[in-house]
Symmetry: C2
Subunit: 215 residues, 2 copies
Amino acid sequence: MTGQVRTVDGRVAGRRGQATRQKLLDCLSEMLSSSPYRDVKVIDVARKAGTSPATFYQYFPDVEGAVLEIAEQMAAEGAGLTDVLAKRSWVGKSGWQAAQELVDGFLDFWRKNDAILRVVDLGAAEGDKRFYKIRMKILNSVTNSLTDTVKELQSKGKVDKDVSAAAMAGSLVAMLAAVASHQKGFQSWGVKQAELKPNLALLVHLGITGKKPTK
Amino acid sequence: MTGQVRTVDGRVAGRRGQATRQKLLDCLSEMLSSSPYRDVKVIDVARKAGTSPATFYQYFPDVEGAVLEIAEQMAAEGAGLTDVLAKRSWVGKSGWQAAQELVDGFLDFWRKNDAILRVVDLGAAEGDKRFYKIRMKILNSVTNSLTDTVKELQSKGKVDKDVSAAAMAGSLVAMLAAVASHQKGFQSWGVKQAELKPNLALLVHLGITGKKPTK
DNA sequence: TACTTGTCCTGTCATGCCGTCAGCTTACCG
DNA sequence: CGGTAAGCTGACGGCATGACAGGACAAGTA
């Protein structure tokens, strides 16, 4: 899939090299969780990995490059977010359940990868196409799936034709991503997870079907 | 209100000093729009302002500190976001209009201040309480207003009691903020502003009232 | 064992930014 | 005109960056 792992100067990395490379990625990942993105320095990552800055630059052009690598790995994992939605009916109780599971899956995934996702989000918002692409990769499976659902419901006459399926799906996904990345904020503001989830599910259901769920 | 503007070492800033300070803030602001947050250096800001790095450190402890200052200024401005909502009825056509105007105001405000808001969002997501507070300051007026609306509708029996007003309002506001900060993303993905806005308004209306709008 | 080859890592260096300080200049006031 | 405080900067030690050459190491060959 990735073909071959290569160093910056073009050599192919062997067993040992790949291990070092991965260790650097892991340490960077950890670092991103514990300190602000702006303050993450190559030298700290290298020290944490028990190696030297020069080694880091052998495998990655800069911190951004390494972050992109981590994000790619995560994106592959995140493709599974959409499994929940496959072949789901959005009519009746089944729809309410689909909405709930989508919300659950999303929040979990985000909580697990919040540090990287933060950086990816920033990069995308700043207009960096590489980050933007990865963000798409993660969100697209869900967005596309939801878009299809809306279109299908529209063709059956169950949803107004003047709804833009893509815009609706995109907005809902953006909402999920935003709420997920500010989960802590909600909590310290007095909103509990237990309240948050059903409300998000309700909004998703309302947005997709245009109707209140039958619970 | 702010009392007196002071330098880092305690002196009070006079006319000239305040002008320099403001110029630094303006240049920083511009810089944030044109290059990634991670790459904004004090020396560049100072150069752009026609002064020296030492001067920067006279007025701000670091880049973050200056960003907070800009964000404060913006937050004051952003308090006006809620004007649109004051004394609005969410019943009938008026509700649909309120939703539309809210979305309009939000997207405009975000587009105007996207660079700072990006950084504030990042800081908040990273758990920095100072950034989190400012984010609240900007969003709270809207969130609270929406929360009140939902509660009012609940007391009149027009909205289900099991909806958490705060969670719903918070989710909607988070959605608006997220979509706003990825406006460019939506566009390059094939979703036009003209489609986006009504869909967001629809979602807001659905979330607040639980019903489709009468247009 | 000695030699070769290619991978892997680091010491070192020039460069550039950070953050601080002493000290110079400028403005204001009696 | 002299005093005082504001305003600014040159210069410096410290540290991160990013490049390079060369040493360490493993594996294969004879």
